[in-house]
């Protein structure tokens, strides 16, 4: 079984982001970048499937700037076999490269690579869209199982437990299929130093997004990026009685 794992390079989840002074986007320079946490979980899941003897090859792909190859190296240090970097100079967080374009680019790569399973993050923590996996599934006509917290592959199908608003739902999808990961699927490993060294020698293909036959004119024009309404810190109260008094008489919420 061959697994295809699309990943994205994003601002690290620990960073408090800064809005550009002209409100045209989020400051990306001199900021710590990382692999999108959900995608790291996707890579980990693929590596576990390989370790358990179910998968034979893991291909990771990212679309982004030249530097995005860092996240491919990270994924290869975790255990992916090879990487594909699709380069673009355009912003991949907001205002330029959009989920629909990414889904179309991935579709074309998947038609060449012919994986049995695609595992990807449910959302990227920059634009928070939560769209690409579902779009890809619809474009390919492959079944989907999103927000996965457990994946069991058996023969030509995969049983997936999904985290949904009402609880947990279990589905069985025929492969090839698209799965998207939720937080509780697994806890990604740290790559060991020897594996980081080994990853540097693993094959990495570079392609240009412009070479794909896609219309890359954004459908959504980014008008501005602004601060959310500010919430002022309130006051500290002394004790439980003071709290109850405030809630009753000032906020009037109880």
């Amino acid at each position: 079984m061959k697994i295809f794992v699309p990943i994205k390079r994003v601002i690290d989840y620990n960073v408090k982001v800064r809005i550009k002074p002209d409100n045209s986007g989020i400051e990306q320079t001199n900021v710590k970048m990382s692999i999108n946490p959900f995608d790291e979980i996707a890579v980990e899941e693929a590596v576990r499937l390989k370790e358990s003897g179910k998968a034979t090859e893991i291909v990771v792909v990212t679309i982004g700037p030249e530097k995005a190859q860092e996240v491919l190296r990270t994924a290869m240090a975790m255990g992916a076999d090879r990487g594909i970097l699709v380069t673009t100079e355009e912003a991949i967080d907001l205002g330029a490269i959009e989920p629909l374009m990414i889904a179309k680019c991935l579709k074309s790569l998947i038609e060449q690579e012919k994986p049995d399973l695609v595992i990807m993050g449910k959302q990227a923590i920059d634009d928070d869209s939560n769209q690409t996996g579902q779009m890809l599934s619809a474009l390919l006509g492959w079944p989907q199982a999103t927000f996965a917290s457990e994946i069991v592959t058996e023969g030509d199908s995969t049983t997936v437990t999904r985290e949904i608003d009402g609880g947990l739902e279990t589905l069985k999808v025929k492969m090839p299929a698209i799965l998207t990961t939720d937080l509780r699927l697994n806890e990604p490993r740290y790559a060991s130093l020897p594996n980081i060294m080994k990853a540097k020698k693993k094959p990495l293909d570079v392609k240009a997004l412009d070479d794909f036959d896609l219309n890359t004119t954004p459908r959504l024009k980014l008008i501005s990026v602004d601060e959310p309404p500010k919430r002022e810190a309130g006051e500290k109260v002394e004790n439980v009685d003071a709290l109850i008094d405030k809630l009753k008489n000032e906020a009037k919420v109880i």
Partner: protein
């Protein structure tokens, strides 16, 4: 030229989230149709028809739609959308809408706008990005706008008094969609539903165990509140996954939100900072949660919780 709202329901009851989407849809000032897909969903269709100011309701009832799997729902929606010239297709940004709408968007070759919190004009919208650390205003130049709506950003539409006509439509597709439903584990609860609750009490990692989490339940029951949790509390198994509040969990905006033993990570704040009144109980006076709390109480939750529950 009108609006199609895809209803969220469980074949028995229309979910309140649909009412919030209708309010968002009204901002466009055009006729609103509602599509109810499921099995034996006639009752839900009637509920949809009694929402005020609805043009018509499509009821598509079929065994293949029973479990609301994304693939057949997509086929059902495309069947309706092809026969009409809808300008807007909308659903809640719940796991239901998130699972379905991007598929419709891709098949229509348009770029979906996720998690809309404000309709600025017929084609421009506000939506939170970077876990709510910024608000993006975007203008769509697609002919059809596929939108998921952040439920807490819009009031519920009036659920009674409307008299829209219900049209039954057959589900035509017969293909094998490749996915089958196995089971659903629903956490049954007498408490209010988290997303729509007027009061929420949330517990974090500091609770330390499932048994201790009962202290959160006691306070919640005293207040008639729903229960929420941080990711750390869910990961540790104190509560089920659907209690998680945050960037990647549920978004809530109650009148009163009480955060107990929660530090206030960006990802948690993303799901609750639009609450009207926020109370934080934490033993660390520098915990980031205090920066957004209206009332902060510094101290040990194991002393404070029982006292608070007792005195209320």
């Amino acid at each position: 030229m009108s609006i199609l709202v895809i209803a969220e329901h469980d074949n028995e009851e229309l979910k309140p989230s649909t009412l919030n989407v209708v309010t968002a849809a009204k901002e466009f000032g055009e006729a609103i149709d509602i599509l109810v897909m499921g099995e034996n969903c006639q009752k839900v269709s009637k509920q949809a028809a009694s929402i005020q100011n609805i043009n018509k309701v499509y009821c598509m009832s079929d065994a293949q739609l029973k479990n609301h799997l994304a693939e057949p729902l997509t086929a059902g929606t495309m069947q309706i959308v092809k026969g009409d010239s809808y300008k807007y297709i909308m659903s809640p940004a719940s796991t239901f809408g998130k699972n379905l709408l991007p598929r419709i968007s891709a098949l229509l070759d348009v770029q979906q706008i996720s998690d809309v919190t404000e309709v600025v004009s017929a084609s421009s919208f506000k939506r939170p990005v970077y876990g709510g650390q910024a608000i993006a205003t975007v203008e769509s130049n697609d002919d059809v706008k596929v939108i998921t709506v952040r439920v807490t950003a819009f009031d519920a539409a009036e659920a009674e008094g409307g008299q829209a006509q219900v049209t039954e439509v057959a589900f035509n597709p017969t293909e094998d969609f490749g996915s089958t439903f196995v089971r659903l584990e629903v956490a049954q609860s007498e408490r209010p539903e988290l997303t729509g609750a007027a009061r929420v009490v949330s517990g974090g990692r500091a609770l330390g165990s499932k048994e201790n989490f009962k202290m959160i339940e006691d306070l919640a029951d005293k207040l008639g509140a729903a229960i929420g949790a941080s990711r750390a509390a869910v990961d540790a198994g104190y509560v089920p996954n659907d209690y998680q509040v945050g960037q990647t969990g549920k978004v809530v905006a109650p009148e009163l939100y009480i955060a107990v033993g929660i530090s206030g990570a960006i990802q948690h704040l993303a799901g609750m900072k639009d609450s009207k009144t926020i109370v934080a109980i934490n033993k660390d006076e520098d915990a980031p949660i205090f920066q957004i709390a209206d009332y902060g109480l510094v101290g040990d939750l194991f002393d404070i919780l029982p006292e608070l529950t007792e005195k209320l």
